[in-house]
Amino acid sequence: MQTQEDYLAGLLEHGLLFSTGVDGLFGRSALFEATVDGLNALVTKHGDGFNAESVTYPPSMSRVDFEKSGYLKSFPGLAGSIHSFAGDDRAHRDLLADLEAKRDWSGRQKITDVVLTPAACYPLYPLAASRGQMPKEGLCFSLCSWCFRHEPSRDPARMQAFRQREYVRMGTAEQVVAFRASCIERGEAIVQLLELPYHLDVANDPFFGRAGKMMANNQRDQKLKFEMLIPITSDEHPTACLSFNYHQDHFGLAWGIKTADGEVAHTACVGFGMERITLALFRHHGFELANWPAGVRQALAL
Protein backbone atom coordinates (compact mmCIF):
# COMPACT_ATOMS: atom_id res chain seq x y z
CA MET A 1 0.00 0.00 0.00
CA GLN A 2 1.24 3.48 -0.89
CA THR A 3 1.97 5.89 1.90
CA GLN A 4 0.25 9.25 2.19
CA GLU A 5 3.30 11.04 0.78
CA ASP A 6 3.64 8.61 -2.16
CA TYR A 7 0.00 8.89 -3.10
CA LEU A 8 0.01 12.68 -2.79
CA ALA A 9 3.15 12.87 -4.95
CA GLY A 10 1.44 10.66 -7.57
CA LEU A 11 -1.66 12.86 -7.65
CA LEU A 12 0.47 15.99 -8.10
CA GLU A 13 2.73 14.38 -10.73
CA HIS A 14 -0.24 13.21 -12.77
CA GLY A 15 -1.73 16.69 -12.61
CA LEU A 16 -4.91 15.60 -10.83
CA LEU A 17 -4.33 17.95 -7.89
CA PHE A 18 -2.40 21.22 -7.78
CA SER A 19 -0.53 22.28 -4.66
CA THR A 20 -1.30 25.62 -2.99
CA GLY A 21 1.57 25.32 -0.53
CA VAL A 22 -0.92 24.69 2.30
CA ASP A 23 -1.57 21.14 3.52
CA GLY A 24 -5.08 19.98 2.70
CA LEU A 25 -5.81 22.79 0.20
CA PHE A 26 -5.59 21.84 -3.48
CA GLY A 27 -6.56 22.86 -6.97
CA ARG A 28 -8.37 20.17 -8.99
CA SER A 29 -7.87 19.15 -12.62
CA ALA A 30 -10.62 18.84 -15.25
CA LEU A 31 -10.54 15.03 -14.92
CA PHE A 32 -10.79 15.22 -11.15
CA GLU A 33 -13.82 17.50 -11.45
CA ALA A 34 -15.42 15.38 -14.18
CA THR A 35 -15.14 12.43 -11.78
CA VAL A 36 -16.76 14.44 -8.97
CA ASP A 37 -19.55 15.49 -11.38
CA GLY A 38 -20.10 11.89 -12.48
CA LEU A 39 -20.26 10.79 -8.87
CA ASN A 40 -22.70 13.56 -8.01
CA ALA A 41 -25.01 12.44 -10.85
CA LEU A 42 -24.72 8.81 -9.72
CA VAL A 43 -25.69 9.76 -6.16
CA THR A 44 -28.66 11.76 -7.49
CA LYS A 45 -29.79 8.75 -9.53
CA HIS A 46 -29.63 6.48 -6.47
CA GLY A 47 -31.52 9.03 -4.36
CA ASP A 48 -34.44 8.98 -6.77
CA GLY A 49 -37.05 7.58 -4.38
CA PHE A 50 -36.26 10.08 -1.62
CA ASN A 51 -38.26 12.86 -3.36
CA ALA A 52 -35.73 15.21 -1.86
CA GLU A 53 -35.94 18.97 -2.22
CA SER A 54 -32.65 20.27 -3.59
CA VAL A 55 -31.22 23.27 -1.72
CA THR A 56 -27.92 24.99 -2.48
CA TYR A 57 -25.98 27.25 -0.14
CA PRO A 58 -22.68 29.06 -0.59
CA PRO A 59 -19.78 27.46 1.31
CA SER A 60 -20.43 29.80 4.23
CA MET A 61 -23.21 30.28 6.72
CA SER A 62 -24.58 32.66 9.33
CA ARG A 63 -22.32 32.87 12.39
CA VAL A 64 -25.37 33.19 14.66
CA ASP A 65 -26.83 29.96 13.24
CA PHE A 66 -23.44 28.28 13.56
CA GLU A 67 -23.18 29.29 17.23
CA LYS A 68 -26.70 28.01 17.89
CA SER A 69 -25.88 24.66 16.26
CA GLY A 70 -23.50 23.77 19.12
CA TYR A 71 -20.55 23.18 16.78
CA LEU A 72 -18.13 25.06 19.04
CA LYS A 73 -19.05 22.81 21.97
CA SER A 74 -17.97 19.72 20.06
CA PHE A 75 -15.41 20.77 17.44
CA PRO A 76 -13.80 24.11 18.42
CA GLY A 77 -10.53 23.24 16.69
CA LEU A 78 -12.12 22.41 13.34
CA ALA A 79 -14.18 25.59 13.00
CA GLY A 80 -13.33 28.25 10.44
CA SER A 81 -14.63 31.70 11.33
CA ILE A 82 -14.23 34.61 8.91
CA HIS A 83 -12.57 37.80 10.12
CA SER A 84 -12.14 41.03 8.25
CA PHE A 85 -10.61 44.47 8.61
CA ALA A 86 -13.08 47.16 9.65
CA GLY A 87 -10.85 50.05 10.74
CA ASP A 88 -10.08 53.57 9.56
CA ASP A 89 -7.08 54.94 7.62
CA ARG A 90 -4.86 55.02 10.67
CA ALA A 91 -5.73 51.43 11.59
CA HIS A 92 -5.09 50.47 7.95
CA ARG A 93 -1.56 51.98 8.14
CA ASP A 94 -0.94 49.96 11.32
CA LEU A 95 -2.16 46.82 9.56
CA LEU A 96 0.20 47.37 6.62
CA ALA A 97 3.07 48.15 8.99
CA ASP A 98 2.47 44.83 10.77
CA LEU A 99 2.36 43.06 7.43
CA GLU A 100 5.59 44.73 6.26
CA ALA A 101 7.37 43.79 9.49
CA LYS A 102 5.96 40.24 9.27
CA ARG A 103 4.21 40.73 12.62
CA ASP A 104 0.93 39.04 13.49
CA TRP A 105 -1.75 41.28 11.92
CA SER A 106 -4.75 39.11 12.84
CA GLY A 107 -5.53 41.20 15.93
CA ARG A 108 -6.45 44.10 13.64
CA GLN A 109 -9.35 42.12 12.25
CA LYS A 110 -12.84 41.67 13.62
CA ILE A 111 -15.03 38.61 13.45
CA THR A 112 -17.72 38.88 10.74
CA ASP A 113 -21.29 37.55 10.64
CA VAL A 114 -20.10 34.65 8.46
CA VAL A 115 -18.33 31.34 9.15
CA LEU A 116 -17.22 28.62 6.74
CA THR A 117 -19.74 25.78 6.49
CA PRO A 118 -18.46 22.79 8.51
CA ALA A 119 -20.90 20.23 7.06
CA ALA A 120 -23.31 20.61 4.15
CA CYS A 121 -26.45 20.23 6.26
CA TYR A 122 -25.70 22.91 8.90
CA PRO A 123 -27.45 25.82 7.11
CA LEU A 124 -30.47 23.60 6.44
CA TYR A 125 -31.85 23.18 9.97
CA PRO A 126 -32.81 26.85 10.50
CA LEU A 127 -34.55 26.76 7.10
CA ALA A 128 -36.55 23.69 8.08
CA ALA A 129 -37.44 25.26 11.44
CA SER A 130 -38.63 28.47 9.75
CA ARG A 131 -41.20 26.51 7.76
CA GLY A 132 -43.08 25.42 10.88
CA GLN A 133 -44.67 22.01 11.43
CA MET A 134 -43.75 19.57 8.70
CA PRO A 135 -46.13 17.37 6.68
CA LYS A 136 -46.95 13.86 7.96
CA GLU A 137 -44.39 12.21 5.71
CA GLY A 138 -41.63 14.46 7.10
CA LEU A 139 -39.01 16.24 5.01
CA CYS A 140 -36.08 15.20 2.85
CA PHE A 141 -33.44 17.50 1.38
CA SER A 142 -30.56 17.08 -1.03
CA LEU A 143 -27.49 19.29 -0.70
CA CYS A 144 -23.95 19.56 -1.96
CA SER A 145 -21.58 22.09 -0.45
CA TRP A 146 -17.96 22.97 -0.06
CA CYS A 147 -17.12 22.45 3.59
CA PHE A 148 -14.19 23.59 5.70
CA ARG A 149 -12.48 21.91 8.62
CA HIS A 150 -9.28 23.17 10.13
CA GLU A 151 -7.24 19.98 10.16
CA PRO A 152 -4.15 20.45 7.97
CA SER A 153 -2.72 17.07 7.02
CA ARG A 154 -0.31 15.54 4.53
CA ASP A 155 -2.94 12.88 3.86
CA PRO A 156 -4.62 13.92 0.59
CA ALA A 157 -7.75 12.16 1.86
CA ARG A 158 -7.97 14.65 4.75
CA MET A 159 -8.49 17.99 3.06
CA GLN A 160 -9.33 21.25 4.79
CA ALA A 161 -11.72 22.30 2.00
CA PHE A 162 -13.82 19.61 0.34
CA ARG A 163 -17.30 18.85 -0.96
CA GLN A 164 -19.95 16.95 0.89
CA ARG A 165 -23.03 15.62 -0.87
CA GLU A 166 -25.84 14.93 1.57
CA TYR A 167 -29.38 13.72 1.87
CA VAL A 168 -31.00 14.91 5.08
CA ARG A 169 -34.20 13.44 6.49
CA MET A 170 -36.35 15.05 9.16
CA GLY A 171 -39.39 13.50 10.81
CA THR A 172 -40.24 10.95 13.49
CA ALA A 173 -37.54 8.68 14.94
CA GLU A 174 -39.00 5.76 12.94
CA GLN A 175 -38.96 7.71 9.69
CA VAL A 176 -35.36 8.88 9.98
CA VAL A 177 -34.03 5.53 11.23
CA ALA A 178 -35.65 3.78 8.24
CA PHE A 179 -34.15 6.43 5.96
CA ARG A 180 -30.67 5.79 7.35
CA ALA A 181 -31.00 2.04 6.77
CA SER A 182 -32.08 2.71 3.19
CA CYS A 183 -29.09 5.06 2.71
CA ILE A 184 -26.69 2.33 3.81
CA GLU A 185 -28.15 -0.01 1.15
CA ARG A 186 -27.95 2.67 -1.54
CA GLY A 187 -24.43 3.65 -0.49
CA GLU A 188 -23.29 0.05 -0.75
CA ALA A 189 -24.85 -0.24 -4.22
CA ILE A 190 -22.96 2.87 -5.38
CA VAL A 191 -19.60 1.75 -4.02
CA GLN A 192 -20.10 -1.70 -5.57
CA LEU A 193 -20.80 -0.08 -8.96
CA LEU A 194 -17.55 1.83 -8.54
CA GLU A 195 -15.75 -1.49 -7.85
CA LEU A 196 -14.16 -0.19 -4.66
CA PRO A 197 -13.32 -2.38 -1.64
CA TYR A 198 -15.19 -1.28 1.49
CA HIS A 199 -16.52 -2.22 4.85
CA LEU A 200 -19.08 -0.70 7.14
CA ASP A 201 -18.28 0.13 10.77
CA VAL A 202 -19.67 1.93 13.80
CA ALA A 203 -17.89 5.25 14.21
CA ASN A 204 -17.72 8.42 16.27
CA ASP A 205 -17.10 12.06 15.52
CA PRO A 206 -13.84 13.62 16.77
CA PHE A 207 -15.48 15.44 19.70
CA PHE A 208 -13.16 17.76 21.61
CA GLY A 209 -11.66 17.13 25.05
CA ARG A 210 -12.73 14.90 27.97
CA ALA A 211 -16.37 15.83 27.51
CA GLY A 212 -15.84 14.79 23.90
CA LYS A 213 -14.60 11.38 24.99
CA MET A 214 -17.93 10.81 26.65
CA MET A 215 -19.84 12.14 23.61
CA ALA A 216 -17.87 9.77 21.39
CA ASN A 217 -18.55 6.78 23.69
CA ASN A 218 -22.25 7.67 23.80
CA GLN A 219 -22.36 7.93 20.01
CA ARG A 220 -20.74 4.50 19.61
CA ASP A 221 -22.86 2.85 22.34
CA GLN A 222 -26.01 3.99 20.59
CA LYS A 223 -24.66 3.25 17.08
CA LEU A 224 -25.58 6.76 15.97
CA LYS A 225 -22.86 6.90 13.31
CA PHE A 226 -21.84 4.37 10.69
CA GLU A 227 -19.06 4.91 8.19
CA MET A 228 -18.29 3.23 4.92
CA LEU A 229 -14.53 2.82 4.95
CA ILE A 230 -12.37 2.46 1.85
CA PRO A 231 -8.59 2.06 1.99
CA ILE A 232 -6.90 5.01 0.26
CA THR A 233 -3.52 5.73 1.83
CA SER A 234 -3.56 2.91 4.40
CA ASP A 235 -5.01 -0.59 4.63
CA GLU A 236 -4.80 -0.46 8.40
CA HIS A 237 -6.62 2.87 8.68
CA PRO A 238 -9.08 3.02 5.79
CA THR A 239 -10.76 6.34 5.05
CA ALA A 240 -14.38 7.13 5.88
CA CYS A 241 -15.86 7.97 2.47
CA LEU A 242 -19.55 7.85 3.35
CA SER A 243 -21.15 8.44 6.73
CA PHE A 244 -24.64 7.62 7.95
CA ASN A 245 -25.66 9.72 10.91
CA TYR A 246 -28.64 9.61 13.23
CA HIS A 247 -28.68 12.87 15.23
CA GLN A 248 -31.67 11.83 17.38
CA ASP A 249 -33.36 15.10 18.44
CA HIS A 250 -30.14 17.14 18.66
CA PHE A 251 -30.92 19.51 15.77
CA GLY A 252 -34.66 19.27 16.33
CA LEU A 253 -34.22 20.57 19.88
CA ALA A 254 -31.60 23.18 18.95
CA TRP A 255 -33.81 24.64 16.24
CA GLY A 256 -37.34 23.82 17.42
CA ILE A 257 -38.06 21.67 14.34
CA LYS A 258 -41.49 20.05 14.75
CA THR A 259 -43.09 16.96 13.23
CA ALA A 260 -46.67 16.95 11.95
CA ASP A 261 -47.79 15.91 15.46
CA GLY A 262 -45.95 18.82 17.06
CA GLU A 263 -43.24 16.61 18.55
CA VAL A 264 -39.52 17.51 18.39
CA ALA A 265 -38.28 16.21 15.04
CA HIS A 266 -35.51 13.65 14.76
CA THR A 267 -32.99 14.01 11.93
CA ALA A 268 -30.55 11.81 10.05
CA CYS A 269 -28.22 12.38 7.15
CA VAL A 270 -26.01 10.51 4.75
CA GLY A 271 -22.86 12.30 3.67
CA PHE A 272 -20.73 11.44 0.64
CA GLY A 273 -17.16 12.70 0.83
CA MET A 274 -16.84 13.63 -2.85
CA GLU A 275 -13.07 14.19 -2.84
CA ARG A 276 -12.48 11.05 -0.78
CA ILE A 277 -14.49 8.80 -3.09
CA THR A 278 -12.76 10.38 -6.09
CA LEU A 279 -9.36 9.79 -4.49
CA ALA A 280 -10.36 6.18 -3.79
CA LEU A 281 -11.20 5.75 -7.50
CA PHE A 282 -7.76 7.04 -8.58
CA ARG A 283 -6.11 4.94 -5.89
CA HIS A 284 -7.76 1.66 -6.89
CA HIS A 285 -8.23 2.10 -10.65
CA GLY A 286 -5.09 4.11 -11.41
CA PHE A 287 -4.16 7.66 -12.36
CA GLU A 288 -4.99 7.05 -16.06
CA LEU A 289 -8.69 7.04 -16.87
CA ALA A 290 -8.04 4.79 -19.89
CA ASN A 291 -7.08 1.98 -17.48
CA TRP A 292 -10.26 2.14 -15.40
CA PRO A 293 -12.77 -0.73 -15.60
CA ALA A 294 -15.39 -0.10 -18.28
CA GLY A 295 -18.26 -0.51 -15.80
CA VAL A 296 -16.87 2.18 -13.51
CA ARG A 297 -16.43 4.64 -16.40
CA GLN A 298 -19.94 3.89 -17.52
CA ALA A 299 -21.39 4.42 -14.04
CA LEU A 300 -19.67 7.82 -13.88
CA ALA A 301 -20.35 8.69 -17.56
CA LEU A 302 -16.60 9.20 -18.07
Partner: protein, 87 residues
Amino acid sequence: MNAKIRALISEFGRLSVDVATLKNEADLYTAGLTSFASVQLMLGIEDAFDIEFPERMLNRRSFASIAAIEQAVSELLAEAGRDAEAA
Protein backbone atom coordinates in the same frame (compact mmCIF):
# COMPACT_ATOMS: atom_id res chain seq x y z
CA MET B 1 -24.40 12.11 48.62
CA ASN B 2 -27.80 11.24 47.15
CA ALA B 3 -29.14 14.74 47.82
CA LYS B 4 -26.01 16.34 46.36
CA ILE B 5 -26.30 14.25 43.19
CA ARG B 6 -29.99 15.09 42.87
CA ALA B 7 -29.16 18.80 43.19
CA LEU B 8 -26.51 18.47 40.46
CA ILE B 9 -28.95 16.65 38.16
CA SER B 10 -31.44 19.42 38.76
CA GLU B 11 -28.78 22.02 37.89
CA PHE B 12 -27.20 20.37 34.83
CA GLY B 13 -29.57 17.64 33.65
CA ARG B 14 -32.28 19.79 32.03
CA LEU B 15 -34.75 16.98 32.67
CA SER B 16 -38.33 17.15 31.50
CA VAL B 17 -39.51 16.10 34.99
CA ASP B 18 -38.79 17.22 38.57
CA VAL B 19 -35.80 15.32 39.98
CA ALA B 20 -37.62 14.92 43.31
CA THR B 21 -40.19 12.67 41.61
CA LEU B 22 -37.51 10.26 40.33
CA LYS B 23 -36.63 7.00 42.03
CA ASN B 24 -32.94 6.23 42.46
CA GLU B 25 -33.15 3.55 39.75
CA ALA B 26 -35.18 5.63 37.26
CA ASP B 27 -33.66 5.93 33.78
CA LEU B 28 -32.42 9.51 33.46
CA TYR B 29 -32.37 9.34 29.65
CA THR B 30 -36.07 8.48 29.65
CA ALA B 31 -36.54 11.44 31.99
CA GLY B 32 -35.10 13.71 29.31
CA LEU B 33 -31.33 13.68 29.91
CA THR B 34 -29.73 14.45 26.52
CA SER B 35 -26.25 13.49 25.42
CA PHE B 36 -25.05 17.10 25.79
CA ALA B 37 -26.66 17.48 29.21
CA SER B 38 -25.13 14.19 30.41
CA VAL B 39 -21.69 15.63 29.58
CA GLN B 40 -22.44 18.85 31.49
CA LEU B 41 -23.68 16.74 34.41
CA MET B 42 -20.48 14.65 34.32
CA LEU B 43 -18.33 17.81 34.50
CA GLY B 44 -20.55 19.25 37.26
CA ILE B 45 -20.17 16.09 39.36
CA GLU B 46 -16.41 16.13 38.89
CA ASP B 47 -16.24 19.71 40.21
CA ALA B 48 -18.62 19.12 43.10
CA PHE B 49 -16.89 15.96 44.38
CA ASP B 50 -13.37 16.92 43.28
CA ILE B 51 -12.96 13.71 41.31
CA GLU B 52 -12.09 12.83 37.74
CA PHE B 53 -14.00 10.11 35.91
CA PRO B 54 -11.56 7.73 34.20
CA GLU B 55 -12.15 6.90 30.56
CA ARG B 56 -13.83 3.56 31.38
CA MET B 57 -16.62 5.48 33.14
CA LEU B 58 -17.15 8.10 30.43
CA ASN B 59 -20.20 6.40 28.95
CA ARG B 60 -23.97 6.43 29.11
CA ARG B 61 -24.25 3.62 31.63
CA SER B 62 -22.34 5.50 34.35
CA PHE B 63 -24.90 8.31 34.24
CA ALA B 64 -28.04 6.28 33.50
CA SER B 65 -29.63 6.70 36.96
CA ILE B 66 -29.09 8.39 40.29
CA ALA B 67 -28.05 4.99 41.71
CA ALA B 68 -25.52 4.45 38.89
CA ILE B 69 -23.98 7.88 39.47
CA GLU B 70 -23.85 7.25 43.23
CA GLN B 71 -22.13 3.93 42.58
CA ALA B 72 -19.55 5.52 40.24
CA VAL B 73 -18.81 8.42 42.60
CA SER B 74 -18.50 6.07 45.60
CA GLU B 75 -16.09 3.90 43.68
CA LEU B 76 -13.87 6.85 42.79
CA LEU B 77 -13.94 8.24 46.33
CA ALA B 78 -13.01 4.82 47.70
CA GLU B 79 -10.14 4.52 45.23
CA ALA B 80 -8.91 7.92 46.38
CA GLY B 81 -9.19 6.73 50.01
CA ARG B 82 -11.91 9.22 50.79
CA ASP B 83 -15.06 8.63 52.81
CA ALA B 84 -18.13 8.32 50.61
CA GLU B 85 -20.45 9.04 53.55
CA ALA B 86 -18.83 12.40 54.13
CA ALA B 87 -19.10 13.42 50.46
